[in-house]
Symmetry: D2
Subunit: 283 residues, 4 copies
Amino acid sequence: MNRAILLISCQDRKGITAAVTGFIAVNKGNIIHADQHIDEESNTFFMRVEWSLDGFVIGKDKIAAAIEDLAQEFQMAWDLSVSDAPMRVAIFVGKRLHCLYDLLYRYKAGQLACVIPLIISNHPDAAPLAADFKIKFREFAMLRENKPDMEQLQVSILSEEKINCLVLARYQQVLSPTFVNLYKNRIINIHHSFLPAFAGKNPYRQAYQKGVKLIGATSHYVTETLDEGPIIEQDTVRISHRDSINDLMRKGEDLEKGVLSRALRWHLEKKILCYANKTVVFD
Amino acid sequence: MNRAILLISCQDRKGITAAVTGFIAVNKGNIIHADQHIDEESNTFFMRVEWSLDGFVIGKDKIAAAIEDLAQEFQMAWDLSVSDAPMRVAIFVGKRLHCLYDLLYRYKAGQLACVIPLIISNHPDAAPLAADFKIKFREFAMLRENKPDMEQLQVSILSEEKINCLVLARYQQVLSPTFVNLYKNRIINIHHSFLPAFAGKNPYRQAYQKGVKLIGATSHYVTETLDEGPIIEQDTVRISHRDSINDLMRKGEDLEKGVLSRALRWHLEKKILCYANKTVVFD
Amino acid sequence: MNRAILLISCQDRKGITAAVTGFIAVNKGNIIHADQHIDEESNTFFMRVEWSLDGFVIGKDKIAAAIEDLAQEFQMAWDLSVSDAPMRVAIFVGKRLHCLYDLLYRYKAGQLACVIPLIISNHPDAAPLAADFKIKFREFAMLRENKPDMEQLQVSILSEEKINCLVLARYQQVLSPTFVNLYKNRIINIHHSFLPAFAGKNPYRQAYQKGVKLIGATSHYVTETLDEGPIIEQDTVRISHRDSINDLMRKGEDLEKGVLSRALRWHLEKKILCYANKTVVFD
Amino acid sequence: MNRAILLISCQDRKGITAAVTGFIAVNKGNIIHADQHIDEESNTFFMRVEWSLDGFVIGKDKIAAAIEDLAQEFQMAWDLSVSDAPMRVAIFVGKRLHCLYDLLYRYKAGQLACVIPLIISNHPDAAPLAADFKIKFREFAMLRENKPDMEQLQVSILSEEKINCLVLARYQQVLSPTFVNLYKNRIINIHHSFLPAFAGKNPYRQAYQKGVKLIGATSHYVTETLDEGPIIEQDTVRISHRDSINDLMRKGEDLEKGVLSRALRWHLEKKILCYANKTVVFD
């Protein structure tokens, strides 16, 4: 697919959509999807536009410069993708492997437009699965005292592998602020509750003890504050008094898999814009 | 709200979005919502654009003519709304009043941007409810032999009341093709099943006998063929062997109310485009 | 329906189900529904059994005494209903009337097996609706300084009307512990969030600001601690960045109506058992 | 788990529940779950009771004979499980492997109480996956002219492997009546639509062309008539005009996996009773 995707946000005023779509049309691009949104509370304008580069008169390497002019006029924040190269994703995982297993299946089935060259864990459990899928597996035995060193090692291997997106697929370690800030809005976590309910540890146990009638799962970008980053996707499923904590875990697994894989897919397709610790998802 | 809404469809080619949004921008309109869709199978382009008329340099009564030029260039089918006048809706109902009751509540609560001056039935049951809401009620005792006459009477009162949208809120009569064609894509029906399953009579009984594990409701535009028009909205709810047919009816009622009211709201907000006996709903 | 319903809970041990069902069989009752549950964490046994009194050899007024013997053997907590008289329900409401309106429709449609002789509010808004349904309406202008007096007046009118179940259908007042304890496990509230998320004031605004992708509603028994009583029923609905706070309120209304009416129906049908600040709902 | 499970159905009359639970109690069994249902239309009684055999005074091999007495009194149809041996399941699969992959994950994760010694296909695609899980894989090249022979071969290998449950996990072959009748109520199929809508071939294409707003999946026991057997489980998911047929297939996959795995789990846990071409699922 020879396509460009542009995400923009700025204060709303007249003529933004026309300026952007006009720029594309004048240069012989054909718009495939265009979606926009205005947050009326903050008067912010958001847009995602995707167009075919077949016949587009501006060369790939010069589109960004051309957009810069437009951006200055409207004081836009913008993000342009013209690369043919898919994102490179590293999956971080702990002992529970259902999300990893699910992501790898979808990856193999061609549902995720990315390359996954690396799986990182603080346990050895995922090694055989990584081997089945012929993906490099690296184990880091994280301890409180060696965490900064271990993270530095992780960063260097991520850099070596040219990773530009991290997925925490039930990785039961808290990342340091330093680490998080290296990958702002590029680390996707799955939390096994309907946030903001049941943040932190053992959310299924918390849900069981509270006696809720639905359980949930939440995928969000990771920020410095645990379980508080912009929410990308959530879902819930009905439970009853008959369900033990094990049943909650089993039912929740299916939620987690769906929620995390949708969040990752939207991220890979450049459908997500963050603002005010929330997301706009142009689905 | 001083706004214009334009719905268009045409064969896809380069520059449509830019031409439409450029037309609005050049004439000093501010786009509030713009949404488009391309059906890749048929290469058809669909668009809904809504803009503020504050400061728009073309007078309300001249916008249509201005759009006509644009439309010819791209051979668009189009529908423009600039009227401040809300649509005028007539509700047709039988003996079961839950949908009527629900619509009237939403109407009174300001959730439906329309005027409802008329309720029509072939039974007297809805008369007190119509009186509570101070809406004109007209009863027509439909018999096989008098149906053409009755429909003619109905058409004349609909015309008198300047009705431009009909809602069949569990009206258990089949409209004649003549009648239907007078209000093409303007008659909204609720059918108490997940169509195409269980079309026709007694869908809850059909569902009970089939032993399905979910029941549904479907709102669609009425065409000449019973229960076959373009589907606007559907929903389902879980049932179990414990549910009697009465339980199915009770659970289904809630579905019907939600599905019909959403369909009507989208219709009133000009969010629906029909093509190929299907709908695009720009929600 | 000439039926008895028995709810029991006790520590689990062998033979409870057999003892209870045997007692009914020996006395010529026919079991219509029997459901039981064991909470494995606390080893607690719960049972709901409903049987026909046609041909039952123990007179209605003597069943309780007969059960007492059984109860002592197993140290059961139990609750027996043999009365033909439906529960008498008072609805408390504030300015937002959607739940009241919905409950009254269901009441009129025969979906709620109770009598509703009284509506109480701290605002006059519900008076016309009460009048339409020919239900006594009493307004109490609650102020911080007169609250104990007002509550005392409310209690006396509730007592006069022989009310045994209270529904807070968006009643924006906090009941005093004294009041709550008079009606333990007999006051049903609707909270417009997925508890425990967004307890307290303005839950839709809280949800909007947090950027959640689903909103919820929760019905629970009222206890001394605000929004913390045993949860009876919950539900969620999907929202997106396109939804304003008003849209959240509109979508949430439908959730609230469904959740509250199901909770009330289960309560009226004696399907709910409370334990450990949770509920078993024998649906 | 040293447990017995008894499923019974018979015409309803007084004392059935008491007789069954009394039989268990008198013989020192402890009931862990008991659930019953009366179909009021046909006056049929259904029961599932599960009890601990610790301390049960009747030997495992004599329980059936003891129940036979009870059964004759009430003219019950009944099915008793006292075996410690898990069911032996064969999975039949075609070219699309998502359901197979999902079942094998759940199997490995201990969510399915069975042994899966055999995978059968008419294509070679599943061979590597079978090898990963160390499960015997047998390919049968089915042609119209060799079908009876191939089925006979399949039956002999099923018999050899002592298979007592067959799962058609997107096996795109129609089984002959002869074959089906060998495994009555023991062959579970997944159909990728909300039956009875879109039976037969290409249900996602049928759904796309109809323009439905939800797609579904249905798991059912296989009978002689294609896609007409007793429905065990169904689910639906929302789609929109934006979804291509490929999106429908991707979204539908997740439905299929959930629906099929739930149906199989209930079957393995002896929670399903068939009657009148419907199912009672004691979940």
